[in-house]
Symmetry: C2
Subunit: 319 residues, 2 copies
């Protein structure tokens, strides 16, 4: 009776293992700090122990588990299960994680990048339930994405599909972390919003944004911009509108290319709600083609903090 | 023994029906002008007769045919098989083409837009053979596209996926046929290349482009630009480079979003060959992310004039 699954969520600061039933109900969970400075072998040994812990907590044996799903920062190769130097996991260079887990537990293991796994979780358990074509977009330190079509992750040639934050909108625009200029990420990520706000604040020191950042320009963050906009600050409202314009432009392109039924936005878009979503929707309506635009909804993602666990188990729960 | 298939290729000026075996070998073909000004019923009656004709020519009966594939300009609904007012087929408004064909022949019929059907044909029989993720892009009067993943067309919510020519690159750029400004199509289609050449030629009347157009600016077409570039004309070379830059920028975005193994370009890109493809490849190398860029080849499509027939039969031939 292998009626249960295990999920492993690997982040740069936290590790989590969960055991769940086949309906996606999380039964037990163990969390530990990644201590990424101690390198990959330390973290993997921790994880293997945490899998045993969560099994013990659930009163389950290895034979009860049909699969292990692992959600981890990319790049990685889903076929071989090898991790290739994610920025948040120093030293995880060509780490054969799937093999390491399978040789320990003899349970089929699927490794997936966190954006894709989260997209699948939203498609199965969250805001994408009931939709055949789901586009999931993160909007925080970076802008990433995952494409789910008919219940399956769209991987692309080498597991890179869904890098929606690196469509270039302004080739002469601000530098992006990827080395290009004017990517959607360089225009709409949290740090990008903060940078634009810092530049604007220098000329308008009376803005409420600056007051919220204790009067210090270098402390201005995207949250201050959103709060100041809610408080009616004109500069903050203009900055939110600008961000929504770029985000809407990028999403309009994606709507034309991918024709999703639903675009699910997380993090900043969830925190900001309609303050950001309404002008994004307006821009998409203005810039996307009529037929694909009529077919799409733009909504906040639904799973919140539980997404990491559900992302991991989504990989090994059948439809 | 239903070992044969029928393909129907519907264009604004020409209709074709073919019968093929299950390996994709075209056995017989019938062609007639669409006479689109006579409306959809005239054309459909012609087509039904042409199906019978091609069956007769092949010495086949209806029972020998396992499926009918129809490649037609979109928009259309692949589930219902209804055609919704393609620009090149006036009066084809909510035309239930699948139902009309099936009620006549009692053979399962699949209707698909021509860009998607052509993408599938290239993936099965042409330059995309052996690749799991194929992106096909037309580059002629307009810029369209089709996405094939693991041998299947990626349709999207309402059969609009692959409108790659309508990603917006320059919102303040030239007007596009879709009503937006600065779409890839408005920058790189044949008429867009001609328009840019006409504008530039007005200030540089000594260019070879103008000589090739009999000295008349309003006769300048994209072919003249390509020929003049081959002849070493500096203005023409600059125009080709500019076109390749926009095309490469758009493809780089698509490489990041879709992570194809191969991008197949047709029409102008085939005619121009490396004159256009080399600078396009250079721009993609400069603008796309490293991992997806390393996984992709950018090549001319292979099927040439036979694509219409193969597009139609691809829809009803198994893998």
């Amino acid at each position: 009776m292998n009626s249960y699954v295990i999920g492993i969520d690997i982040g740069g600061t936290k590790l989590a293992t969960v055991v769940a039933d086949k309906d996606g109900n999380i039964l037990q969970k163990v969390r530990k700090p990644t201590e990424s400075e101690k390198g990959p072998n330390h973290a993997v040994q921790l994880l293997l122990g945490m899998v045993n812990e969560v099994l013990d907590l659930g009163g389950l044996r290895r034979e009860d588990i049909s699969g292990i799903g692992v959600s981890c920062g990319g790049p990685l190769d889903t076929k071989t299960g090898i991790i290739y130097s994610p920025p948040n996991l120093p030293g995880w260079d060509a780490l054969p994680l799937k093999e390491m887990i399978e040789s320990e537990f003899h349970i089929p293991t699927i490794i997936e990048n966190d954006a894709n796994a989260s997209a699948l979780a939203e498609a199965r358990f969250g805001g994408g339930r009931g939709y055949d074509y789901v586009l999931y977009m993160t909007m925080s330190t970076g802008i990433g994405g995952g494409i789910v079509a008919n219940g399956e992750i769209y991987h692309g040639a080498n597991d890179c599909a869904g890098e929606v934050g690196h469509q270039i909108l302004l080739p002469d625009g601000p530098l992006c972390g990827c080395g290009q200029h004017g990517c959607l990420e360089a225009l709409c990520s949290g740090p990008s919003i903060a940078r634009r706000a810092q530049e604007a604040t220098a000329n308008q020191p009376e803005t409420r944004i600056l007051a919220l950042a204790d009067g210090q320009i270098d402390r201005v963050r995207s949250e201050h911009v959103l709060q100041a906009a809610r408080d009616g600050d004109a500069l903050a409202i203009a900055l939110v509108e600008k961000t929504a314009y770029y985000m809407g432009w990028g999403i309009a392109n994606l709507v034309n290319i991918l024709n999703p039924q639903i675009v699910l936005l997380v993090t900043i878009a969830v925190a900001a709600g309609d303050l950001l979503l309404d002008p994004i929707r307006r821009t998409v309506t203005e810039m996307a083609m009529q037929r694909p635009r009529e077919a799409v909804k733009i909504m906040p993602a639904e799973l919140g903090d539980s997404i990491g666990d559900l992302a991991a188990i989504s990989l090994v729960i059948g439809n």
